[in-house]
């Protein structure tokens, strides 16, 4: 804002105050999910004229959804799974035991953390039965999700 040519005539301190005030107003409106009439009333109390209120509200409406998504993504949550990769292998022997002949899966859950940018992926091995157990439990979770949305 301080580099904008249209605004160079205005005192920088005043500009900063305006910017901060506008940002706070927008964030509060977004947080409370305020509707247009509430925002208009608020701005009227601040003694803005009708034209400016209308301009503000139009701009706000345009960006409301993006604002909500942004605000909703702030905050802590447990590590979030974004993707899964798997590998199927067939064990033939190891140095302790020959002729093992066992299939096994290596599953990696790609995980994102909301705080740091690090990606501490979770990897584990499992047999076919264990993978079936895991998939069964995930399907139970999905079914209960479906039932919840139908309520």
């Amino acid at each position: 804002i301080l580099d904008d040519p249209d605004l160079k005539d205005i005192d920088p301190t005043v500009l900063k105050h305006c910017h901060a005030a506008a940002a706070t107003c927008i964030l509060e409106a977004g947080k409370q999910k305020a509707d247009i009439s509430a925002i208009s009333t608020c701005l009227e109390d601040c003694k803005l004229d009708k034209e400016r209120i209308e301009q503000f509200c139009t701009e706000y409406q345009k960006n409301k959804d993006a604002l909500e998504i942004l605000l909703g993504s702030i905050g802590r949550s447990p590590l979030h799974i974004t993707d899964v990769s798997w590998r199927l292998e067939y064990q033939i022997k190891n140095n302790q035991l020959h002729k093992t002949y066992q299939p096994s899966y290596l599953v990696t859950l790609n995980v994102e953390s909301s705080d740091s940018g690090s990606h501490p992926d979770v990897s584990f091995s499992c047999t076919m039965e264990q993978l079936q157990d895991l998939v069964g439990k995930l399907k139970d979770a999905a079914k209960s999700l479906e039932r919840a949305t139908q309520m």
Binding site: G30, K31, Q32, K33, E68, L71, G72, I74, G75, S77, P78, L79, H80, I81, T82, D83, V84, W86, L88, Y90, I92, N94, Q96, L97, H98, K99, T100, Y101, P103, Y105, L106, V107, L109, V111, V122, S123, F124, S125, C126, M128, Q130, L131, Q132, D133, L134, V135, K137, L138, K139, D140, A141, A142, S144, L145, A148
Partner: protein, 199 residues
Amino acid sequence: MLLVLSADHRAHLGCLPRAGSAAVGELGRLALEQLRRGAAPRACEAAARKLNIGVDTIQHGVEGLTYLLTESSKLMISEIDFQDSIHVLGFSDELNKSLLQLYLDNRKEIRSILGELAPRLPSYHSLEWRLDVQLASRSLRQQIKPAVTMKLHLNQNEDQTARVLQTDPATLLHLIQQLEQALGEMKTNHCRRIVRNMK
């Protein structure tokens, strides 16, 4: 596939014919206990007293038997191969039969003990899940954000760890689809052919 027994090994097992058939049973038992729980010098001393043989001889005999059993179980050698391998020791038929029986009776257990020594990644133990809906947060009121929170229990070298993870409904369905594909892979012709030909 034949087992090759070194000179030391043969010397250790050499005490068996002199000991008699009861002793062979006793030594076999000691060998298995050693595999299950580790060396037990007191048990060897007790056996030495009972059978009237030197402790060192007993110790060597037990170690020899242990090595014979673990190597045979590891390679999963057939009855015939086992018999041919111990034939070189020049024991009596009766002793050979006892040894073969000892091998066959305990092969499965020894293999499962050996199986625990292999290198391992953390392995799956179980999964608990919970359906959550986030209704509000400090930055945004009046939300409806469904999420599935899960506790994944893993085993690593006898430690159990639990990781708490979360995912959204869309990713959950994606996970299910991917893992079902993974399960289906074992049933494809390619995998079936390899499993058949590797036996």
